[in-house]
């Protein structure tokens, strides 16, 4: 009888032991899960911080490049155009003649040249591109930049805008504008292109920019060889703003750069800091 009682006690201890072991296992699993989750979360936070810092650096670099480009344009304009005009005016006004009619004609001509120089200076003052993107938006800034490029006579650029333009956020627009500038640079310096077409498509969920030129083109395999090249910079920067960029080209067939901002991809950039 006593032995039977001991057996039952042992059985109860076995049952309680199994139950405790079982719960210990489940609790251990849950603790392990929580620790693992927290570690992953910390790692994700670190990676996100790194990405944001990289993004800020790249954005700053882009800003500086846009400013550099603008300053070099301004200095070229001042040197090639305004200084020439003012020198001519100075020379013209320095020469005296006895004929009052001739003097009046010279003065009138100088006044016209001065008015032209003032207009040119006024145009230049509007060329601070980063501010103008903020103030005027991408489409208007591109329009003005294209007009300026066309005036230079080096290349003919056409702009086509489909859909109703909306803002993409000043930082995204700055990066897109820089990509456009880099494309023009490449078309002029390396591809000897004479014509360029810029197309903007604003649809409800997708924004698309396509830049195509009729230059010499190149083998796109070189993109893998030169990681720090301007073309790769374009692709990386597009990725940075959550856009998908693609470069198509072949020797003798020009180049086509397309950039797409998709609403779905943009979800992760929707925190307002981009």
């Amino acid at each position: 009888m006593r032995k039977e009682g001991l057996d039952i006690n042992n059985d109860i201890i076995t049952v309680v032991f199994i139950a405790c072991l079982f719960f210990a296992l489940i609790v251990s699993f849950l603790i392990f899960f929580v620790v693992l989750y927290n570690r992953r979360q910390a790692r994700n936070r670190r990676e996100k911080a790194d990405l944001q810092s990289h993004y800020k650096q790249e954005l700053l670099k882009t800003q500086i490049e846009v400013q550099d480009q603008t300053l070099s344009y301004i200095s070229r304009e001042i040197h090639d155009n305004i200084t020439q005009v003012l020198s001519f005016v100075k020379l013209s006004l320095g020469v005296k003649t006895a004929d009052p009619e001739q003097n009046r004609a010279k003065i009138n001509e100088s006044r016209e040249l001065l008015a032209q120089a003032i207009n040119d200076l006024r145009d230049l003052s509007k060329s601070l591109s980063f501010d103008s993107i903020k103030a005027m938006g991408l489409t208007n800034t591109l329009e003005r930049e294209i007009k300026r490029i066309n005036n230079s006579g080096l290349i003919t650029v056409t702009l086509q805008v489909d859909g109703e333009a909306y803002t993409l956020g000043e930082k995204r627009e700055l990066v897109i504008f820089r990509i456009f500038q880099e494309s023009v640079n490449n078309a002029l310096k390396h591809a000897n292109a004479k014509q360029m077409k810029v197309e903007l498509l604003y649809s409800e969920k997708v924004f698309n920019l396509t830049i195509s030129d009729n230059g010499e083109g190149f083998d796109t395999r070189i993109l893998n060889d030169f990681e720090g090249s301007g073309l790769n910079n374009m692709l990386n920067r597009a990725k940075l703003i959550g856009a998908k960029a693609n470069i198509e080209s072949a020797v003798g067939k020009g180049c086509r750069i397309s950039l797409t901002l998709d609403e779905v991809i943009q979800q992760i950039y929707a925190d307002g800091t981009y």
Binding site: I8, D11, F22, N38, Q41, N44, F207, L261, E263, G272
Partner: protein, 207 residues
């Protein structure tokens, strides 16, 4: 019963603020409360409430499966869950009419709990792999999955030990207590999930 009643009331109050996934869990809570109440009444009047387990199981399986259907992102898993719901309901009806007629719906409940534990593990996997910034404590699915993992595992343990306990003529009180406490824990954890869940659908707009 009081914990279940509280959870049901909170579920009804918070229903419109809940995400789609947790709306189905919210629906389940008052249904469970009604079922438990009917079970108590039947126990007192006709001394047999086993029918209640057959009635609740398909609703429970459907609602919880729908919660995981909306939460889990894997398309194949979603399709599988969509397929499991009607299959399980048919199985439960067959079980109630022919296999376990007049008995406790242990076949259905066991099958259902196996599914819930698998769902819980899948949701843990998704939580680990996601880039979610919220802490785990603020994720309702974590509490729901923990609830079902603990409850499901305990039921497996209870039933496994029950045979042993009966065979060795040991008092079953400990197992009954275990079940009661696990029920309380289940509804408390679901209550936490329902309290912290909110519909966070945001539509992205370009700035």
């Amino acid at each position: 019963m009081s914990v279940l009643l509280t959870t049901s009331v909170v579920a009804m109050i918070r229903y419109r603020y809940l995400s789609v996934a947790f709306k189905s869990t919210a629906i389940l809570m008052p249904l469970t409360f009604i079922n438990e109440t009917v079970a108590k009444i039947l126990a007192r009047t006709v001394h047999n409430n086993l029918i209640c387990s057959h009635v609740l199981t398909p609703f429970e399986f459907t609602c919880i499966s729908l919660t995981y259907y909306h939460f889990l992102k894997n398309v194949t898993t979603k399709k599988a869950i969509g397929l499991f719901i009607p299959i399980f309901c048919v199985f439960d009806i067959i079980n109630a009419i022919w296999i376990q007629r007049g008995q406790f719906a242990s076949n259905s409940i066991l099958t259902e709990l196996i599914f819930f534990v698998v769902y819980a593990m899948l949701s843990y996997k998704q939580l680990i792999l996601s880039d979610e910034e919220r802490s785990l404590a603020m994720q309702p699915i974590f509490w729901l999955s923990t609830a079902w993992l603990l409850f499901g595992s305990t039921i497996f343990l209870k039933w496994a030990l029950q045979n042993y306990v009966v065979a060795h003529h040991i008092k079953q009180d400990i197992l009954h207590h275990l079940l009661t406490y696990m029920n309380i824990l289940l509804y408390l954890l679901i209550l936490v999930a329902l309290v912290i869940d909110k519909d966070e659908k945001k539509r992205f707009k370009y700035r």
